[in-house]
Amino acid sequence: MNGESRHPGKRAARSEPAWVRWALLTLALAFVFLFLLLPLAAVFVEAFRKGLDSYVSALAEPEALSAIGLTLLVAVVAVPCNLVFGVSAAWAIAKFEFPGKSALTTLIDLPFSVSPVVAGLVYVLMFGAHGWFGPWLMAHDIKIIFALPGMVLATTFVTFPFVARELLPLMQSQGTDEEQASIVLGASGWQTFWYVTLPNIRWALLYGVILCNARAMGEFGAVSVVSGHIRGQTNTMPLHIEILYNEYQSVAAFAVATLLTLLALVTLLVKSLAEWKFERQQRTAQTLSPERPVSP
């Protein structure tokens, strides 16, 4: 009876009556419309409020261009650092057992729950003029706070867990069978990682990197604390948006915002793609499984 009533892959029984279903669906769609679709649409409508010309000229301004350049530069440093860290941390945590593992996992999550403003502040306290290393840095004429290195550090802090967080659950669920087989068959550690592990995690890795990148380019609070807001020099795109907005240059602010919004939409697209690929991979693995040796 139990076997007959199940339709594999499909939810057969929905216990709730139709009116409840419609009510819940309406409620969910209304909330998504109000809180997600409207803000998304507003960005583009506001940006094109005065037509295409003022949109283009807002983006072609030297200050906007320098903000875009600086944002790219910060991301180009911060994202690869967090990528290497994420892969390395996921390898150590997912493939090995060691004491203190769960504590380490918690510590990796720590930057998620620290306010971006506090994240910026800790670097000011380290490297600022009144900070622990401030006098030494001044003596050697090295500028970290109110300069690029500080912005890179703050961004790295805020986007620290993203790659590791995407990889960890996946690599933990995959276990170590395939890697062990590869090593037993004589592959080196690098070969094993490159040809066995990486193909298994590439979509999660791609999403982790692209999310990390979106957050790095969009980081506002932490960078705002350490940047010093020097126009044309230490302004990233989000900071530039703030300045324009506070100067009532709404169209220009939203014009720059559309670029970051497009980046966010690409991020979501990659995520959907990664999930789709992953599900397909799972399905192929399931159809292949009968050919494998049957475990007792």
Partner: protein, 291 residues
């Protein structure tokens, strides 16, 4: 060979000490992980606590408990709490609809739920403000009824609701997907009404995930800065959030005061991280026991 085919030696525990040694790179990756974690996160954060310890006690107390700062705690924690509650309810509804129903545009909505993760907070801030200001699409509709949602504490709640939306959906969704349909069907067969089967079968299963999502949304809201400052109006005592207090003190070169208030926020984040961790452990145990 047997253990290899049986799978997942890292979890199964049988002969794990031996088999795990096969894989290389443990020392290298762990050493790098610890090193990087230390220089980016741990040392800077301990620097803040070290700085807090150098403050004299009276100054510290005065900085963290002045009326303006106390008002900012009330707003920050209160608005985060309300926003997390709103998200818990609507997050559950959205997860429910996404898991159990088929409708047009479902894939799109599923993808859109992550928008607040990916959209920069400053963009969210100006966009919500443009919508809710009295000349905006939503604000102009509500103004005749005397409802003002921007430039006051309502705006803070709305911004934090936007920011926290994905947390509940994404923690509840997988649990709801794994919810055993047989149990629900059994409840129905035994004569349970739909409400009873929700309250007694489904809800207990998803409760830990729901609480985890709530705690995550709350924790995120307490630290949030970018989206809030545009919409809040930032009036002292009324709509000024705690992170903004820190920024204000920094702009006046009051590093000691900023550090003191930041240490309060940081202790709150640690506490919430601890709670979230405990909730996740509870959830794993609950799921492990049921399957």
């Amino acid at each position: 060979m047997q253990t290899l085919a049986a799978g997942r030696p890292a979890v199964s525990g049988a002969g794990r000490g031996k088999s795990l040694r096969v894989l290389p790179g443990f020392k290298l990756t762990l050493a790098f992980t610890l090193f990087y974690l230390s220089i980016i996160v741990l040392i800077p954060l301990s620097g803040l606590f070290a700085k807090t310890l150098t403050l004299d006690w009276q100054h510290f107390v005065a900085a963290v408990s002045s009326p303006r700062v106390l008002a900012s705690y009330r707003l920050t924690f209160g608005a985060s709490f309300i926003a997390a509650l709103v998200n818990t309810f609507f997050g559950l509804v959205i997860a429910w609809v996404l898991v159990r129903y088929e409708f047009f545009g479902k894939k799109l909505i599923d993808a859109l739920v992550d928008l607040p993760f990916a959209l920069p907070t400053a963009v969210a801030g100006i966009s919500l403000t443009a919508l809710l200001a009295t000349n905006g699409w939503v604000g102009s509709l509500l103004e005749p009824y005397g409802i003002v949602l921007a430039f006051n504490p309502n705006g803070v709640v709305i911004a934090l609701t936007f920011i926290g939306l994905p947390f509940v959906v994404r923690t509840v969704q997988p649990v709801l997907e794994d919810c055993e349909q047989e149990l629900e069907e059994a409840a129905m067969c035994l004569g349970a009404t739909p409400w009873q089967s929700f309250a007694h079968v489904i809800f207990p299963t998803i409760a830990p995930a729901l609480l985890t999502g709530f705690a995550m949304a709350f924790a995120r809201g307490v630290g949030e800065y970018g989206s809030v400052i545009f919409i809040a109006g930032n009036m002292p005592m009324v709509s000024e959030i705690t992170p903004l207090i820190i920024i204000g003190k920094l702009e006046q070169y009051d590093y000691a005061g900023a550090t003191a208030v930041a240490s309060v926020l940081l202790v709150a984040s640690f506490a919430m991280l601890f709670v979230i961790n405990a909730l996740q452990t509870w959830q794993r145990q609950r799921l492990g026991a049921s399957s």
